[in-house]
């Protein structure tokens, strides 16, 4: 967990497991070893175990697909197709990357392919082929009052976040979702998206600063009366 306390979703990296000394968190190595053993059993004929293998990651597959497609029905369909593709192609999983990274990579490819079918070549954005961070100006303010996560119970705040994410380019959305929502490392994000780590960092920088720039003007003026603002927009909860 990074020092700065961003509560990244770490389900890709750690799993809660029960032991004699109570519940503890499995390390990435333990998870990989456990998954390798399950994969071997599936390939030996215990096919039903594939359900258990993917269960921890199914939410992540949906979110990854949604990050590209921005449509619930398509994201669900792509997540399903990706799981079937992974099942049929399990023999080709070599274990060089984590199983979860491999699964996400399949999903991203499926989602990109779906998007190409619907939007043609518009997907091939060239906005950041180089690794230049450019001259990026965030939304500058004098102070920021922390918005606690409990405020996410309010639909309006969730909507504001989702709308800001939707305004990012597909490439920026991908890395933001994988790194900051899924909690994948820079290396895993690079493996899943098929670009180098330098480009992942540049895209992440741009995505995060864009989010700041899009959301601060909306949220900061309302912070002192955030509860009132949210209530007014919701017409009550």
């Amino acid at each position: 967990m990074p020092w700065y306390g961003v509560s990244l979703n770490t389900e890709m990296n750690t799993r809660a497991i029960a032991g004699n000394d109570g519940e503890r968190t499995a390390t990435a190595a333990e998870t990989s070893a456990r998954e390798a053993a399950i994969i071997a059993r599936i390939l030996a004929g215990e096919r039903e175990l594939f359900h258990e293998l993917i269960r921890p990651y199914e939410r992540g597959l949906y979110v990854a697909a949604y990050s590209i497609l921005q449509n619930e029905a398509d994201a669900e369909d792509v997540a399903q197709e990706s799981v079937i593709k992974a099942y049929k192609g399990l023999k080709s999983f070599r274990g060089d990357a984590k199983f979860s990274t491999w699964l996400i990579a399949i999903t991203l490819n499926e989602a990109r392919s779906r998007l190409r079918q619907t939007k043609g070549d518009q997907l091939d954005s060239l906005d950041d082929c180089d690794e230049d961070r450019g001259d990026y100006t965030p939304s500058v303010l004098a102070d920021w009052r922390y918005i606690p996560s409990e405020q996410l119970e309010r639909k309006e705040l969730r909507q504001a976040l989702q709308e800001a994410i939707a305004r990012l380019s597909p490439e920026h959305r991908e890395v933001l979702i994988l790194r900051d929502v899924r909690g994948m490392s820079i290396t895993e994000t690079a493996e899943a998206t098929g670009v180098n780590e330098g480009l992942v960092k540049v895209r992440l920088f741009r995505a995060r600063l864009s989010m700041q720039k899009l959301l601060v003007p909306q949220l900061a003026p309302k912070q002192r009366g955030l509860m009132g603002w949210l209530t007014r927009k919701a017409g009550g909860r």
Partner: protein, 83 residues
């Protein structure tokens, strides 16, 4: 090392990820201690990432898991029949 606001903004993401050098970190922190604007940029970016990373921000459709496993099972059954 003395740095300006623009330099701090260019390092916000790496600083949050903890991938800046110790010297760079020290310079950024010295700057943040004296610049409330950059401090607010850093705080707001971190805060937004905390909110984005929360499970409540992206909810899967109701019944998603069940439909996923049903479709997978259908595919498994089809494969079995074909063998």
């Amino acid at each position: 090392m003395k740095i300006d606001c623009r330099h701090v903004w260019s390092q916000v993401s790496d600083y949050i990820d903890g991938t800046v050098t110790p010297q760079e970190r020290e310079a950024i922190e010295r700057h943040l201690a004296n610049c409330r604007h950059c401090s607010a940029v850093m705080d707001s970016t971190r805060n937004i990432l905390v909110l984005v990373g929360d499970k409540r921000t992206f909810e899967v459709p109701v019944g998603f898991g069940e439909r996923l496993h049903n479709r997978l099972q259908e595919s498994m059954n089809e494969q079995k029949r074909g063998e």
